[in-house]
Symmetry: C2
Subunit: 419 residues, 2 copies
C-alpha cells in the first residue's frame, strides 16, 4: 500500500466533488464484473487498493458512491474509423447505389466532399461520444490517399493530442482506396508512419489491389521499417479470403513478426469448412495473430466462441459509426457486445461475458497496454454502470454513471465532463 | 370537419394539461413519417383534421407542442409472448443447456415454476413497458397446456381488460408444448377459444407434433368452428419447413380461409433455393397469407425486401422479451426495426422505412384494425419521437416524447402515464 495522507473533502457519499485529475479517488461499493462488492482506491491514476465494500473510510480527494453498481474495465474500441462519421451533421438520407467496397468508398467520399466535413471536427465528436459511453482506448484506422493526402490523418492526430489525458489512442495508416491501384498512396502511408502512426494498415489484397502478394509485402516491409504493427482489413469471402489469411500468416512467420499482426473482419473464417478452418486456426495461433471481429449484420463472420476456446487472441470495435456505410453502428461498445451476442446466438450469460472480455482485455492486449486491468497496480481506467449482472448492462445499455481514465472522472451520467 | 366548440385550456404551447381522455387534442408541429410539418386535431379519439403546421389556433382541451419532432403511427407488435417475460424480476443468469425448442421450453417452465411467476403480473409489466415505448397494438401468443391449464391465458385476459382503453390486444391460443404429443391440450385450446381468444395458434407440425397433417387439420378446424384466425409458429428449417408452408397454404385454400392465416417466423423462406421460394411466394399470395418475421439473431430468415416487393403481407413483433430464451429482445418496436434492418443489410433509408411500415400498417392489417392510420377519420393512435428522419428515430431509440391511444396521452417522455 502507498503511504499517503487522505483528507475528507466530501462527506455526503451520494455526491461527488469533480476536481479533474485527483491525487486520490475512492470508489465505494461497486461489483467488479458483477462479482462481490468492493471499494477501490486510486492513487495518482493507478489502482492502489481493492478491499471488500464498506471496509474503507471516506478519505480521499474525491469519493464516488458506486451504489452497488457494476464496475467494468475501460471499454476498448480496437477497430474504429473516427475520421469518417457524420455525428453532429443533419441526418444524412442514405441513397447508396451498389454494394462493393468500391461503391461504398466512392459514395462516402462524394458525401464527405459535398458536406465539406472536417476530419478534425468529426473525430473529436466521435471521441467525445465514445468517452461518454465508457471507451478508454481506441485504435482507429485513418484514410490516406492522394485525393485527400494526409489531411485526415493530421485531423485525427490533432484529436489524439487534444484527448491524450482522457483516451489512449492508436492510429493505423489505412489505404481505404487501395494502394497499388492508387499511385502515390504508398508514399503517403510512409509519411504517416514517420508522423507517428502506430500501425500499418492494409485492405483486401486481392479484391481491391489485384496483387495480393505484392500488397502484403509492401504492408509488412513498411511496418518493419518503422517498427510498427500490422492491421489488415480483410473482407474477402470464402476461399479467396482464406488464401489471404495464409499469405498474411506466412509473411508474419517469415519476418518473425509473431504477436504484431491483426487481421480485421476476416469474414472468410465463418465461410470455410471446419477442416480448413482448423488448419487456419493453427496458423493463426502459431503466429500469435489477433483476429478483430465485430460480427456482421447480414453476412457470415468468424465463429467467436470456437476461436476463443481455441486460444486465438480476439478484439472488437465499433467500425465506422453513423456514416455513409449504414445507419446502425454507434460508439457504444456495450451495444457492440449485444449485437455480437445476438448474432452469435449466445443465450447464456457466460458467453456474453466472454464477449465483454474481448471488448476490454482483448482490445487492451492488441494495443499492448500493459497497464490495463482491474487489479492493484494497473491504470485506473474503468466504467461504473447500473445493473446486477454484466449481461444486463450489455442488453440494457443504460447511460454510464461514471467513466474514469487514469483516475480522472471523464464522464458522468452519460455525459462528457469538460474541464 | 366536425362542428365543435373549442375552449382554450392551456395557452403555453410547451406544456400539456394531462386530463386523461380529452374531447379535443391538438398536436402542433409534427412531421408525419418525416414529411412536411403538420398540426393534427383529434376529436373524441379520432383524427379530425390535419393541416399545415402553424395554421391551427391553440384551441383544444389539450395542446401538445410537437416541437418539430416526428409523428409515427402507433407501433404494432404483432407477435408477442407477454405471458413469459422476467421484467421486474432479479436478473436471471441464463444457464440453458441444449438448443432445441423442447430444451428451451423445458428450461422456461422450470424457471417459471421456481420463481413462482404470475402471468397476470408479468403480462401487465410487459404491456406497461410496451405502451411507454409507443406500442398501441399487441397480438400475443399465450401458452396453454395441461400442466398450467388456462392460468396463463386468464392472466393475460385480465391484463387485456385492464388496459383495454390504452392498448388494442389480440390473444392467440398457443400450444407451446405441443398439441398431439400433449394429451388434453386440444380441449384446453378450445376452451380458450370459447373464452375469447382471437386466433388459434400452432407450432412446428412436424418437428414438435410429429404428424403435420393432423396438427394442421386440428388448428384449422378449431379456427373455423369458432370463427377466428390462424397464426402458426414455424421454426422448421429448409425443405421440412417449406413442406409445412405448403400444407398450410393448401389447407387455407381448401377451407376458403384466404386472408385469415398468418405464418410466424418461417425461417425456411430464407433457406430454400430461389426457384422454390418463388413458387412458395405464389402460393402465399394466392391465399393472402401474412408472414410474420422479426428476423433472427443467428440463423436465416425470410428475405423481407423480396417478399415485400412481391406484395406479400408482412408484420413483425418483439417475440418474447427478457425471458429465458435469451437476453436480447425487448419491448421497443423501433429497436426491432433496427435489428431487422441490420440483419437484412439495409443501408438505404427507404429500406428501413419499408420495415417501419411493416411494424405499423403491416401489423394493423393482420389485426384487422380498419381504424388504423395517420389519416383524417382514423383512430388517434400515434407516437411523437425526436428525430429528423424516421431512420434516425429507428437507430437512436430515444425515449418517446408522447404516446397517444385513441386521443389519450398514455405515455410521456418514455414513461407510462398512470391516471
Amino acid at each position: 500500500m502507498h503511504n499517503v495522507k487522505f483528507s475528507v473533502v466530501e462527506k455526503n457519499s451520494h455526491s461527488v466533488t469533480l476536481i479533474g485529475m485527483s491525487k486520490t479517488l475512492l470508489v465505494k461499493n461497486v461489483h467488479p464484473l458483477g462479482k462481490e462488492a468492493v471499494d477501490l482506491l486510486v492513487l495518482d491514476g493507478l489502482i492502489a487498493q481493492i478491499t471488500p465494500a464498506g471496509s474503507t473510510q471516506n478519505q480521499a480527494d474525491t469519493v464516488i458512491d458506486g451504489n452497488n453498481q457494476l464496475l467494468l474495465p475501460g471499454l476498448v474500441n480496437a477497430h474504429a474509423h473516427i475520421d469518417k462519421n457524420l455525428i453532429g451533421q443533419p441526418w444524412h438520407r442514405n441513397e447508396l447505389q451498389g454494394a462493393t467496397i468500391r461503391d461504398l468508398v466512392d459514395y462516402e467520399r462524394k458525401i464527405q466532399l459535398e458536406e465539406g466535413l472536417s476530419t478534425r471536427t468529426q473525430s473529436k465528436l466521435d471521441v467525445e461520444a465514445s468517452i461518454a459511453a465508457g471507451t478508454t482506448h481506441i485504435r482507429t484506422h485513418v484514410d490516406i490517399d492522394p485525393e485527400i493526402g494526409l489531411t485526415g490523418f493530421e485531423g485525427v492526430l490533432g484529436t489524439k493530442e487534444e484527448f491524450k489525458d482522457r483516451l489512449t489512442m492508436q492510429t493505423v495508416a489505412f489505404p481505404q482506396r487501395g494502394m497499388l491501384i492508387n499511385p502515390g498512396t504508398v508514399e503517403l502511408l510512409e509519411e504517416a508512419l514517420k508522423m507517428g502512426a502506430d500501425a500499418m494498415g492494409g485492405l483486401d489484397p486481392s479484391t481491391v489491389d489485384r496483387d495480393p502478394t505484392q500488397h502484403i509485402n509492401i504492408v509488412f516491409d513498411l511496418a518493419q521499417k518503422y517498427g510498427v504493427e500490422v492491421d489488415i482489413h480483410l473482407h474477402e469471402p470464402g476461399m479467396l479470403g482464406a488464401f489471404s489469411v495464409e499469405l498474411i500468416t506466412e509473411r508474419t512467420q517469415a519476418l518473425g513478426m509473431q504477436g504484431l499482426v491483426t487481421i480485421s473482419h476476416v469474414f472468410c473464417l465463418g465461410m470455410v469448412d471446419d477442416g480448413y478452418l482448423n488448419r487456419l486456426i493453427d496458423q493463426i495461433l502459431e503466429n500469435d495473430i489477433t483476429i478483430m471481429s465485430l460480427g456482421s449484420g447480414k453476412g457470415d463472420f468468424p465463429p467467436l466462441k470456437k476461436l476463443n476456446d481455441a486460444g486465438v487472441r480476439l478484439c472488437t470495435g465499433t467500425d465506422g459509426v453513423r456514416d455513409t456505410w449504414g445507419p446502425y453502428n454507434y460508439v457504444d461498445m456495450l451495444e457492440r457486445i449485444k449485437l455480437m451476442g445476438y448474432r452469435s446466438g449466445f443465450r447464456r450469460d457466460e458467453d456474453v461475458e466472454m464477449l465483454l472480455k474481448v471488448a476490454t482485455y482483448g482490445g487492451a492486449a492488441v494495443m499492448k497496454d500493459d497497464s490495463y486491468g482491474l487489479e492493484v497496480g494497473k491504470a485506473a481506467d474503468f466504467v461504473i454502470v447500473p445493473g446486477e449482472a454484466t449481461t444486463q448492462a450489455v442488453v440494457e445499455l443504460r447511460p454510464r454513471s461514471y467513466v474514469i481514465k487514469r483516475g480522472r472522472i471523464v464522464a458522468k451520467d452519460g455525459a462528457l465532463i469538460t474541464d
